[in-house]
Symmetry: C2
Subunit: 403 residues, 2 copies
């Protein structure tokens, strides 16, 4: 189905009149690749040691395919499904779902549902299930620093000519204080204190810094140590530079220039009541205030931003997910949050009136967004079992309630 | 003739026994190009409005061709030259002439000469001739900042994971103090005070900041204002970032990552007794001291560095150049310096025992090293006349001295 951007894929099975409807969300779009960093071509998947390597294998082709295969297997086995099912696969999740809310609004009747789940989500590990109950929002912008119309000969002009890369570095440095907090005026104004309940959630998780450090190959954790690492990732906002370029950077050769231009891309992860438009304004004011002399700044905006969101755990929709995971994994799911963004999920509540609960099978070490992204083949089978069980469980429990 | 790097082109005309020998230096190698920034293909020259556009048209194909055409015209007109001539065209000037000194040493006999000039140099303007009497040295290095083995999902890991681009920006910012001076310990230790004679030279030049600012399209001059702009460019050292790259910087798309790697290239312009190896050591110490936590730095070195140099103006070799320029331009040349580097020139004095004087026709606005480099076609004819007159003048004056 067309949108102003990439089309949305919709499909439904509605032959269970009187039964509830479950809407399953996932997204088919993926992050761009830096092909040179991949061991195998990113769009020619390779299966090795129980892992499928390829862009999107984890984020979020897994979400698309596991639910389809689960439904296919039920239809092949039983000739029918225990509930009505609607598939909704988006193509703009990675750029902040700029057309998704509008699409939901225009197709409210068609998409009417009793329950919604998203396959764009993670489990804590192979053996420990989890349900994410909050996610950060995000907003992006690109800014360009111009100090000259042309690169300048570093001998002929060096000593009096502004350098765009140096100016850009100074602006980027000015974004942070010594604790690693964001030094942009007003940035934390709408950030709420971390609640006792949130602290409790984190306490229950046996967080080991070494795990993620091993995944990434980092040698240190950074950030304001007055918050624990998981508090920072789940409940505190960030301002990250996701890329920066200026001057002569070809792998070979050497160009003795003073660069006249540089660009950088910013992503902020937002929490609580932070508003993307307001945050962008604050950043622009900060850049204007902190630009060295001789610098002209321009901006290029990415469409859309995603608000932070939280999902309640005192609903029957939550219980059905939790009970399903308990059954399949043999233990209670832990309640978690994610530092990531599920912008589209907020629209479900606003437009369709249902919360979309996490029912995805990504894991933290699978290099989402990075080179050599992979997905565990074992998660495919486990995920299919979970989806089959979940659809049956919803049917059974709702049928009990009717009696 | 082969060297350990690019070959050197040598040619001679030696049919004037008893007459002096003039050696003419220029270089055929050029700076790399960023092709997308050029209005015309950089290696398919285009003549437009009295200008030849193309990489190297100015720096330094002009130096190579003007002297060849001058000699050619004399041979065609007179059947002979007034002096013996040796051409020496290098192919590694733009990377600091790493094999040039060695080549001179091995071919000392062959290259024996009475006078030497370099076509890799500039005139003040179309109507005002000039002779450069000092140049800065230069040294280059590339450094890489690594914070992780892989880019990280900015949601999943953002808040606790070091960002290579931010770390790189902080290191680059740390290179400078608030006045724009270099904040690397020891950097200025071997820089001598600017002499009254040097101040006098600058005073004679009607320096107008607007001229270069218009050439480059800059809106401000930067640097330590306790020195004048020309003092800073001619007699003070610099540390410039000539390029920096990290994270996702493709023109389209948006990758929500925390970059794990960034690279930057540094060029320093050196003066007086500054030594390239010592400067590189100081920079490495500074980077180690100023690297944020979680950062691993590695280095990649460019071969060779060029020492700063000065050339005296109380020699007959200087007088022959000055008299030639006076004759052709109708006015005395002004004594200047250049912020650029003529590393090979130092080797002439050291190995061949002669100073190489500037006799080139570049001009400051011709975008050497940048996109859309050009050379004035009018400078070709004027340059040829200068070279013809110069060779005849050397013959005449030397012959007078013999009598």
């Amino acid at each position: 189905m067309p949108t102003a951007g990439n089309p949305i894929v919709y499909g439904s099975w509605d032959k269970a009149p009187g039964k509830p409807t479950v809407l399953i969300y996932a997204h088919y779009d993926v992050q761009p690749v830096k092909e040179s960093e991949w061991d195998n071509p990113p769009f020619t998947p390779v299966i090795k040691d129980g892992k499928i390597f390829g862009r999107g294998s984890s984020d979020d082709k897994s979400g698309v395919m596991i639910s389809i295969w689960a439904v296919e297997s039920m239809l092949k086995t039983d000739g029918k499904l225990p509930v009505n099912v609607k598939f909704l696969f988006e193509g703009e999740e990675e750029i902040g779902s700029p057309n998704f809310k509008d699409f939901l609004g225009k197709n409210k009747e068609l998409l009417h549902t009793d329950f919604a789940v998203t396959g764009d989500d993670a489990q804590y590990s192979d053996s420990v299930p989890s349900i994410n109950l909050s996610s950060r929002g995000s907003v992006q912008l690109q800014f360009n620093v111009k100090t000259a119309n042309t690169d300048a000969h570093s001998g002929q002009f060096g000593g009096k000519t502004p350098n765009a890369v140096v100016a850009m570095s100074q602006i980027i440095s000015s974004f942070y204080d010594k604790q690693g907090n964001v030094a942009v005026d007003g940035f934390y104004d709408k950030v709420l204190p971390i609640t006792p309940q949130q602290k409790e959630t984190i306490k229950k998780i046996n967080y080991n810094p070494a795990t993620d450090m091993k995944i990434l190959g980092t040698t240190a954790e950074v950030g304001d140590t007055s918050y624990s690492p998981l508090e920072r990732v789940w409940y505190r906002p960030t301002l990250e530079i996701i890329g920066m370029q200026g001057g002569y950077t070809a792998p070979e050769g050497h160009s003795n220039i003073i660069p006249g231009n540089a660009m950088a891309r910013i992503t902020c992860r937002l929490v609580n009541n932070q508003n993307g438009d307001e945050i962008v304004d604050m950043i622009k004011k900060h850049i204007n205030k902190n630009s060295p002399v001789g610098v002209t700044v321009s901006y290029k905006f990415k469409p859309g931003y995603a608000s932070p969101m939280t999902t309640p755990s005192d609903t029957k929709a939550f219980s059905y997910i939790a009970e399903t995971l308990s059954k399949v994994y043999g233990k209670q799911p832990i309640k978690m949050s994610t530092g990531g963004t599920g912008g589209a999920m907020l629209s479900f509540k606003e437009i369709l009136g249902v919360y979309a609960y996490s029912l995805g099978f990504l894991q933290a070490d699978e290099k989402s967004h990075a080179a050599n992204e992979f997905f565990r083949t074992s998660s495919i089978r486990r995920g299919q079992i979970v989806y089959c069980y979940y659809l049956q469980h919803v049917a059974d429990e709702e049928s009990k309630l009717k009696k």
